[in-house]
């Protein structure tokens, strides 16, 4: 009997050998080792034997013992040239042999890929916005937040005034340079022609902080002299007809300033066209000249009307810089803060912060505005991406569905391949290869398609993209990834399914794909869920858009012409009206302040009301046909009206909480000016419908300048009236540029972004529905083919064409109906969210859902019934003859 302490060889060595050595050698190796171990134990003792064992065992760690035994049936060489040639031949034959199927797949995938490519272009442009400046990431914009006494952030703005830039640059060592940048308008005189152009004013450091290369001129000194100007190459070409204009002069004057005269500005630089992905785009740039008093007026800390950018030293801590900035502000503006708090009742604390220059473009909280161009809503990118991915997904689903459904036809090929020795991986590779081949064809078409639709897309997305953007390593990588992912997504599942067929079954005709094909069902449902979702979205956007442009604004904007005239004095207005009304077609002339004024005043002993402040004359309200609800309008019969009387709208009354508004006092306390309410004006939409009607106050104060006037003309007299207005204007104000707008056109223009959304959604939806339908068409065709015999037998037994059509169609229509179950709640949620953006919006209507459902069912029905009817009409003798 064996003793219990039988010495055992080291277990670890055995484990190691088990792991490493080839299985077929292992048994004899371990056996020999153990036998030798026992021998050594007897001879040398256990300790030495163990050592010996290890030495011997390690001797077997050689390739000779590790190498696995070759399989008896050696696996064939997967990618032999002959096989590859065969794969290509078969792939091309299948594509050519099933034209409808190839067409559906290629068209679908091309559209899907093209959509995805466009979005990649778009996103690249969005992401690359403002990235080209050499000083990035050290350029920041000074922004401020308002913190309420309770410690909550109540507001934020990216705009600043004259003071913060220079003060912070002086007080914070990390700030290397600052640039104040401000959009403005100047009148430019060329010969006798006067034109109003947008100009930008910036500090002389502009060209050293930002990377805008100059074709001509020295970037360091271009904006040094107060009367210098830098033009873009386009503007130079337009104004002088040449790009080489250094040293020539341009006559310009401020459009808004009352006493401005035309003065010569010397061209000190010609800049290259600003890149299209830049927030700063300028044609005319002049130095920022600030009156001597402005820097010392402490209340200027509280102006916010332009952008200030700072350049920090590389590696500076933002938190540190922000802290120092606020120290500077609190020290410098100490008195002003108290003064403002006292005068305007401003209780919120103002805190300065920095925003990276490259973040402005897509920032929702602190957008790039006030002279900065091209701000876009990140939501727009998301929606675009979503739509593109939907389209691509639907195209891939088509591919998967059609390939699997059609695979019965290829079952024999697969069977034969397996019988003659094809491995599963080989088949997978073959089918994946086919999907990549198809994808490549689609990819080429997609590139052509992108080139074709790019102009339309640019217009829709407000971009200037070009396919040449593609020659960028990241984007090329992106497209390659897109190609690979699409090929894999579309080809992977079919490849797995097809390669898994049992060769015996396929060769004996025993393979059945009919029965419950859950995946296909699910995918079709998914397709139509997406399609119905988009249909509902489009219908909603459409009705909301129609609602916005057709809603009664509360005033009449028809035949109302608006003409800008800066600093229109009371005398000029009088003269203008007199002259214009010589033409009987001019019904009314009403001057008004330009732009929008917001201010606040005290009512009821100290309550603040913020309101829109309108400076008008007695003719304004009648001209735009807004009724007075209580009291009376301004009138020439009451001389006091021009100074001490105001009109307010209903929203104002509500906000002030007045029971009897007439005779109430509105106190402009900071100006020591009190006035009396003499009438209440019916609420009307003075701003666009994205804004709720707020308090509004009308005055005739002579101190407030007019900036434009409205002319109401008789319907149908546009041509003659406009000519009359133009003539009168140039006669009276030869030094002012003349331009006019029709108010109703302007009001529609305010909804441009909605119009764009509507168009993009419409395109997206049409494409989605189209691709879904061609997919459905393919499936219906295959199903009709498969049920050919069944239909024949049914007909022989006496089924009618109608009943057979119903049979073949209802299967698919059921799926479409199921898709509504998923689409409706999703769509409801999404459009509810979207409509929340609008204070004036349509209610979510059941009708929209019914409409969408009907539309989807109708389109699906038309698609499927074509095949169904065709099958139902075939002569049963034909389908039953064979076999």
């Amino acid at each position: 009997m064996k003793s219990k302490h039988l010495p055992q060889p080291p277990a670890w060595a055995d484990k190691l050998l088990c792991l490493v050595c080839a299985p077929h050698l292992l048994e004899s190796i371990l056996g020999d080792l153990h036998e030798e171990f026992e021998y050594q134990v007897k001879k040398e003792g256990e300790r030495k034997a163990r050592l010996h064992y290890w030495r011997e065992a390690l001797g077997f760690l050689k390739w000779r013992y590790i190498k696995r035994q070759k399989q008896y049936y050696s696996s064939p060489f997967v990618f032999s040239p002959d096989m590859i040639r065969n794969y290509f031949t078969i792939a091309l034959r299948t594509l050519a042999g099933n034209k409808a199927y190839s067409f559906i797949n290629i068209v679908g995938l091309s559209i899907g890929l093209a959509a995805a490519m466009l979005i990649l272009l778009y996103t690249k442009d969005e992401v690359s916005f403002d990235q080209f400046h050499a000083n990035n990431p050290n350029i920041y914009r000074i922004t401020n937040k308002y913190i309420s006494p309770a410690g909550k952030q109540v507001g934020a703005t990216g705009n600043t005034g004259y003071v913060p830039g220079p003060k912070f640059a002086a007080g914070v060592p990390e700030i290397k340079a600052f640039v104040r940048y401000h959009g403005h308008r100047n009148d430019i005189k060329k010969g006798n022609e006067i034109k109003s152009e947008t100009v930008f004013r910036a500090d002389s450091s502009f060209f050293s902080v930002f990377s805008f290369p100059l074709l001509n001129g020295d970037p360091k000194t271009a904006l040094k002299e107060p009367r210098s100007v830098v033009l873009s190459e386009e503007m130079a070409e337009k104004h002088f007809g040449s790009k080489d204009v250094l040293g020539r002069t341009l006559l310009m004057k401020d459009s808004f300033e009352k006493d401005a005269r035309f003065e010569p500005y010397t061209v000190t630089g010609v800049a290259k066209k600003s890149p299209q992905n830049s927030s700063i785009k300028f044609d005319i740039m002049i130095p920022m000249v600030i009156g001597p008093g402005e820097m010392h007026r402490a209340t200027n800390w509280f102006n916010t009307f332009m952008n200030t950018f700072v350049l920090l030293t590389p590696g500076a801590s933002i938190a540190q810089v922000e802290r120092k900035m606020n120290l500077v502000y609190n020290a410098d503006a100490k008195e002003a803060i108290k003064e403002v708090a006292l005068k305007y009742g401003m209780k919120d604390k103002k805190v300065y912060s920095l925003q990276p220059f490259t973040d402005m473009h897509l920032s929702a909280e602190l957008p790039s505005d006030n002279g900065l161009a091209g701000h876009s809503n990140p939501q727009f990118s998301y929606i675009l991406t979503g739509v593109a991915l939907f389209i691509l997904a639907i195209a891939c689903i088509n591919f998967v569905n059609l390939t699997v459904a059609r695979s019965l036809k290829r079952a024999k090929e697969i069977g034969i391949r397996k019988v003659v020795g094809s491995g599963r991986m080989q088949l997978v590779a073959q089918f994946l290869g086919e999907s990549f081949l198809l994808c490549m064809v689609a990819f080429i078409f997609a590139l052509a398609l992108v080139q074709l639709v790019l102009p339309v897309f640019n217009q829709l997305a407000d971009k200037a993209l070009a396919l040449s953007y593609l020659f960028d390593s990241n984007l090329v990588l992106g497209y390659l990834a897109l190609f690979l992912i699409t090929g894999l997504l579309a080809g992977f599942y079919p490849a797995i399914v097809l390669s898994g067929y049992n060769p015996v079954k396929t060769l004996y005709h025993r393979l059945q794909l009919s029965g419950k094909n859950y995946l296909q069902t699910a995918l079709v449902v998914l397709q139509f869920t997406i399609a119905s979702f988009l249909i509902i979205g489009t219908l909603t956007i459409n009705s909301q858009f129609n609602y916005l442009i057709n809603k009664d604004l509360g005033y009449s904007d028809e035949h109302l012409v608006s003409v800008d005239k800066s600093n229109l004095t009371r005398q000029q207005a009088y003269l203008l009206r007199h002259q214009l009304q010589k033409d009987p077609d001019v019904l009314a002339v009403a001057p008004k302040n330009s732009g929008r004024w917001n201010t606040s005043a005290k009512v009821n002993r100290g309550e603040e009301v913020a309101f829109t402040y309108e400076t008008v004359d007695p003719e304004y309200l009648p001209a735009i046909q807004v009724p007075i609800v209580r009291g009376r309008n301004f009138s020439a019969d009451y001389p006091a009206d021009s100074t001490g009387s105001v009109l307010v709208n209903e929203a104002f009354v509500k906000q002030a909480g007045w029971k009897d508004p007439i005779g109430q006092i509105v106190d402009f306390s900071y100006e020591n000016f009190k006035c009396t309410v003499i009438g209440v004006v019916k609420d009307y939409h003075y701003a666009d419908l994205n804004e709720k009607i707020g308090p509004q106050l009308f005055t005739m104060r002579p101190d407030n300048p007019y900036g434009k006037f409205f002319v109401k003309i008789k319907p149908g007299t546009e041509t003659s009236s406009l000519r009359h207005i133009a003539k009168t204007f140039t006669q009276l104000f030869p030094l002012n540029p003349y331009s006019y707008q029709f108010m109703d056109d302007e009001n529609v223009k305010q909804y441009e972004s909605e119009a764009k959304w509507r168009q993009i959604m419409l395109f997206g939806t049409i494409l989605t529905v189209f691709i879904s339908c061609i997919g459905l068409f393919g499936l219906a065709t295959l199903s009709a083919e498969r049920r050919n015999k069944e239909v024949g037998i049914r007909k022989v037994m006496g089924a009618s064409v109608a009943s057979i059509t119903r049979l073949l169609t209802s299967d698919f229509l059921k799926l479409v109906a199921i898709s509504f179950v998923f689409a409706f709640p999703l769509a409801y949620y999404a459009i509810d969210k979207w409509l929340q953006n609008y204070p004036y919006r349509i209610g979510i209507d059941v009708f929209i859902f019914i409409q969408a459902a009907l539309l989807a069912v109708l389109v699906a029905f038309l698609t499927v019934s074509f095949q169904s009817v065709k099958t139902a009409l075939t002569n049963p003798a034909k389908s039953l003859r064979s076999e």
């Binding site: 050698l25 048994e27 056996g31 020999d32 080792l33 036998e35 030798e36 011997e56 077997f60 013992y65």
Partner: protein, 112 residues
């Protein structure tokens, strides 16, 4: 060369396998060779020589009975194939032929 190449160690292993006559396996061969040649032999050397010989077709192997000292593992028993026997014979013939051609056969080393 119409004769397969046979290394010196391989030749010894092959001869020992023949000598053990059907009872040749790893450990047995190792001990046999160690005893007869007096040189230290490692198990893996024997195994690799056997593998090479099997690949050359000079030995063939079959699994024997499991034994307790092997932890219940079977032995791989090697026997010579006809080709192996012929090769050995050829080697011997070549040697004897060469020996016979020595004009002055070696004297025992005592004279030195």
């Amino acid at each position: 060369m119409n004769r397969a190449y046979l290394g010196e160690f391989e030749e010894i292993v092959l001869l020992s396998t023949a000598a053990l006559d059907g009872h040749a396996y790893g450990v047995a061969l190792m001990h046999e060779i160690a005893e007869n040649t007096g040189r230290p032999v490692k198990l893996n050397q024997v195994h690799s020589a056997l593998q090479r010989l099997e690949e050359k077709g000079m030995v063939k192997s079959s699994m024997g009975e499991p034994t307790a000292e092997r932890g219940g593992r079977r032995k791989r028993l090697y026997t010579l194939t006809v080709y192996g026997e012929r090769t050995l014979t050829q080697v011997r013939e070549v040697r004897e032929n060469l020996w016979s051609r020595l004009t002055k056969p070696f004297k025992p080393a005592i004279e030195l």
